[in-house]
């Protein structure tokens, strides 16, 4: 599916550029786009290094374990395939917390760490596990308590009430997260049921 989307983006892009007589844009955009991708990664190197260092302190101090134990009822329900004390859960919880607080630059390092830990539990190294799909569903639909960036933009644009969108955003993200996690739950159980039937 991602193959098709990627192909669609590039081919329609080139097609439209050619139709508009701006085929020169293609070369230019490809090179600058590639550069931007690497720049994002360079920014991420510092953040990853910093946050993984802090995470290791929190882990050795037992903080991650305490947090994971507090949220165990939820994680057992959402991630039945992950053992309750697995380090993946700590990273998942830190990633979701960072997302909720609108700390985008802390969320990605924890998220990548969580994927690495989940991959250790994966029997088929090239295929996503249920836990990975659930984690990404939770990640992309995550509740936002503090949409800090957009409030900043609204302040800069001279809004009379820049934070009035916090409530609506909380509602919309909360609704989205519930729907998405429910859909994931159904999907997981539907596929498991079907696979079991297939084996008989």
């Amino acid at each position: 599916m991602l193959n098709l989307i990627w192909l669609f983006l590039i081919l329609t892009g080139i097609g439209v550029a050619a139709y508009n007589g701006r085929i020169d844009l293609v070369t230019e955009t490809f090179f600058s786009g590639a550069n931007e991708g690497v720049k994002v990664c360079l920014d991420l190197i510092g953040l990853m290094t910093l946050w993984l260092g802090m995470l290791e302190i929190a882990k050795q101090a037992g903080l991650v374990r305490v947090l994971a134990r507090l949220l165990r009822p939820l994680t057992v329900l959402l991630f039945p395939g992950v053992p309750p004390n697995h380090p993946a859960l700590g990273a998942i919880i830190m990633n979701i917390s960072a997302n909720i607080l609108g700390l985008g630059n802390a969320a990605t390092p924890f998220g990548l760490k969580a994927m690495e830990e989940l991959q250790k539990l994966n029997p088929h190294q090239e295929t996503a596990t249920d836990a990975m799909c659930t984690f990404l569903a939770a990640n992309t639909s995550c509740i936002t308590l503090v949409p800090a960036t957009i409030v900043g933009v609204r302040v800069a644009a001279g809004s009379a009430n820049p934070t009035e969108i916090v409530g609506p955003t909380l509602f919309a993200t909360g609704f989205t997260m519930i729907v998405t996690l429910f859909a994931d739950f159904c999907w997981r159980n539907f596929f498991r049921a079907r696979r079991r039937r297939g084996r008989k």
């Binding site: 599916m1 991602l2 990627w6 329609t12 892009g13 439209v16 550029a17 508009n20 844009l25 293609v26 955009t29 786009g33 991708g37 690497v38 994002v40 990664c41 190197i45 990853m48 290094t49 946050w51 993984l52 260092g53 802090m54 302190i57 929190a58 101090a61 037992g62 903080l63 607080l101 609108g102 700390l103 990548l112 760490k113 690495e116 991959q119 090239e126 295929t127 996503a128 799909c133 990404l136 569903a137 992309t140 503090v146 933009v153 609204r154 644009a157 001279g158 809004s159 009430n161 009035e164 916090v166 609506p168 955003t169 919309a172 993200t173 989205t176 729907v179 998405t180 859909a183 596929f191």
Partner: protein, 177 residues
Amino acid sequence: MIEQILTEVSRWAIPFLFVLFLVVGWCRRIPVYEAFIQGAAEGFQIAVRIIPYLVAMFVAIKIFRVSGAMDIFARICAPVLGLVGAPTEVLPLAVMRPLSGSSALGLATELIYSHGPDTFIGRLASVMQGTTDTTFFVLTVYFGSVGIKRYRHAVPLGLMADLTGLFASLFICHLLF
């Protein structure tokens, strides 16, 4: 009032976390400096591993946007989204949001400035920006970092989350503003 508290929470969260980790670590007699170095050592490899995925996504998304294909795509989607009460102005934002965070933020900022932050479109753009996520970025980078090739139901789930977020934003904005 509540909203001010929330803004403060976001300002204090990271400094608070750093102090908490360091103080608890120190109290538990953890060699904090060595622990930091030990964890941080992995940071570089993980970050560098995602370069190919980032470049692939950035190139595709940028050519789609710069060539004008995105505007055409948004115009084709317009009648469908118009049915559920989405103003045509926010369509490029709705299309761009799952693809690229920085482009979407640019579009949202532009909408907020040109229509005014306290207009319906300004508010809707703000809520949409906060509600949906850069699904494709997250999918490619997260799966790419560990070498997953078969994404299974993560793609439809992510797209569904974005659509649900779009509809939920429209619903709540029509209700409140």
